[in-house]
Symmetry: C2
Subunit: 152 residues, 2 copies
């Protein structure tokens, strides 16, 4: 029973750290601060983004992806997260959630939808980092159009 | 050192089990055997599919999704997997990989592309099961078209 409680407390603590990582990185995204964004990824991260390329391998390549997309972002925006689930065991964790961008001009063409995120984490030298992330929207198989206005 | 070795051996064993789960489930998909496909999911699985709905919550709902898509699958096909990465710690694991359908009629409209998969697993009562899965292709933000022909 004691062990069980300890495990639960440890997991609650670790889940809190993962939750904070997600919040902090979203804050960095809103600030378009590429150094802070990249601080959460391992150097060999593999990223599946909602737009091409099909996959991005390494933090160096991912940094360029982030830098290239900032001009398409609204000048100012916030993020809203829902349905966050976090799983932790030892030095491994993964999480999934839905995210949308808010508080931007209503006619801005970018990102008027929810995005789906899944991320995998490893704790290395006491610090949780993202080893894999997957962001997407579904597409209509009849039209091949991305589905950007679905209710969730 | 002994502990380290034991941990590595355990992880190798667990990684082998996850790898086999992925192979076995793909075999079940090729056989369009919904009972075998569903045997790998927890009852409260949350699924992000490459087509709508945006997310599917529960195995009952996911079973219907699988059943509804079988008529669109080729009569006969195989799968090819590449870039599989598996991470394990204790009773938690996640993996990501690329998959395409092969050995079907070359003019079949379905799935002439690679798909990206990320899955999270928990070991419950000695058996690994999928608690979350995320399948997608990227979309072109200028046209909103799913990108189905990318080189990977």
């Amino acid at each position: 029973m004691t062990t069980q409680m300890t495990t639960e407390n440890t997991n609650t603590h670790d889940e809190g750290q993962i939750r904070q990582l997600i919040v902090d990185q979203q804050s960095a995204i809103c600030a378009k601060d590429v150094d802070r964004i990249m601080a959460y990824y391992t150097t060999d991260v593999i990223y599946f983004d909602c737009k091409p390329p099909f996959q991005t391998q390494s933090a160096d390549a991912l940094r360029r992806i982030w830098e290239e997309c900032f001009p398409y972002f609204p000048d100012s925006f916030k993020t809203e997260t829902r349905d966050l689930n976090i799983f932790v065991s030892g030095s491994l964790a993964f999480a999934h959630w839905l995210l949308r961008f808010t508080e931007m001009a209503p006619d801005h063409p970018a990102m008027h939808t929810w995005l789906r995120f899944t991320a995998g984490y490893q704790r290395q030298q006491g610090k949780w980092q993202i080893v894999h992330e997957h962001c997407s929207v579904p597409f209509d198989p009849h039209t091949s159009q991305a589905v950007l206005t679905l209710d969730v």
